[in-house]
Subunit: 250 residues, 2 copies
């Protein structure tokens, strides 16, 4: 196979593929230094230009940023299967005849030991044959592989952003409030741990607690009274309303 890219995803996907016996023939990247480094690590050829892609390669992986997928795809003239690795870009960004997507839900960081077997992967192809071929390979890496359309993948990506990036920002907001009360964020770690423990066994909706879930308007008003920032007030109001609606059908 051929790896296009030399960043975090390229690094981990190369290791992953190699670990299941797939030979990486060549590495190309806009960043020549990183490409040379990665190709050396993989014992692969450093590919100077995209039009020199080997005829022997049967899979070309585009581990490039979303904006580059279309441009790079257009430069690749090949009968091999071309896949990108984005959570949000449609498969249609690829102009090649045989195309696909391999997206790992967990974000990957270079030089960080990662247990790939527990990472869920969403995969896609424009033909059933290639979808099955991708599935066969990724199933050797991970126990959780799902064939999904681009739209389904985008929804899963949105879900991941909400459950990860937005949750992290809520922790930031909590920390701001605790700092105002001259308290360390660490006092919230026990309830954060408990919540994480619970969602392993229960549906989030089933274990919803708090003022909004029990319709405790007095507490909601007390909270709104001490929030100074208008945007935060609005976030508080919207999330509380949504919880109320879900739990009281108001």
């Amino acid at each position: 196979m051929t790896m296009i890219g030399s960043g975090n995803v390229a690094w981990h996907f190369s290791k992953m593929f190699k670990s299941v016996g797939i030979e990486i023939l060549e590495v190309h990247s806009r960043n020549q230094e990183d490409a040379k480094k990665l190709s050396k690590e993989l014992n692969a050829r450093h590919l100077d230009r995209l039009d020199y892609i080997s005829d022997e390669t049967d899979l070309i992986v585009l581990a490039v940023n979303d904006d580059s997928i279309e441009i790079v795809s257009n430069q690749i003239r090949t009968d091999a299967l071309v896949v990108h690795t984005s959570g949000t870009a449609s498969i249609e960004k690829l102009s090649n005849g045989r195309k696909g997507v391999i997206w790992s839900i967990q974000s990957l960081r270079k030089n960080q030991e990662t247990d790939y077997s527990k990472i869920p992967f969403l995969i896609e192809s424009n033909t059933e044959n290639d979808a099955a071929a991708i599935e066969n390979v990724i199933k050797k890496i991970s126990q959780q592989v799902f064939i999904k359309s681009s739209e389904e993948r985008l929804k899963a990506h949105l879900g991941a952003v909400i459950a990860n990036n937005f949750v992290n920002h809520l922790y930031s907001i909590s920390q701001e409030l605790l700092t105002e009360a001259k308290l360390p964020f660490s006092i919230l770690l026990p309830i954060i741990e408990e919540e994480t423990r619970k969602v392993h066994s229960f549906e989030p909706k089933e274990i919803q607690t708090g003022p909004a879930a029990r319709g405790d308007q007095k507490t909601i008003e007390s909270h709104l009274n001490i929030i100074q920032e208008p945007e935060l007030k609005e976030i508080y109001r919207l999330i509380s309303d949504r919880i109320k609606k879900l739990h009281h059908d108001l």
Copy 2:
């Protein structure tokens, strides 16, 4: 001491106090059946009426709901220290001469084994003497005891609601999206676990990632495009804007 209440907090606070050698003389509750049950478990007297509180008691704990604190407090004629256990109610809800608050940040459930030593407690009193007395007792139970004003406690309570109840609702929203994509919520557990692991070592703001943090407006627009519900669109927009502002000073 005297325990007023027979719910989750009354149950755990009784066990907690007993475990550090404080004798529970009597239990009173609106719910007579539960009060009798708890008093039996504690080997304490069941107290029929609030005006029969023993002269021997030196601490009266109101583990009642927020709306009842004022009413119950008004019925107690005593020189003993009266404390409530609410995260949101001001100490001023108590009309007694000697008053205080003991709030455990973690929510407690009856009949559930709990390691109190790791639960953070916020405490308060109207005199330094009684604050020190409460601190002495609670320090025997937990390693994390903070003397805080009612306003600071309300801010910490708001922080806990955001980090716990709101986070749980974000998980609910993620699950809704995954269900639309015919995917199980469990595929998000690895990133949820990783986030929880990270906030043990880093400040939430330091580890913020995602489209909003990197100013990736294209991905933000793709997400907004697939969100149908206007309220959810607004939640998405407000949280993304707040992350952008925090990370780009826009």
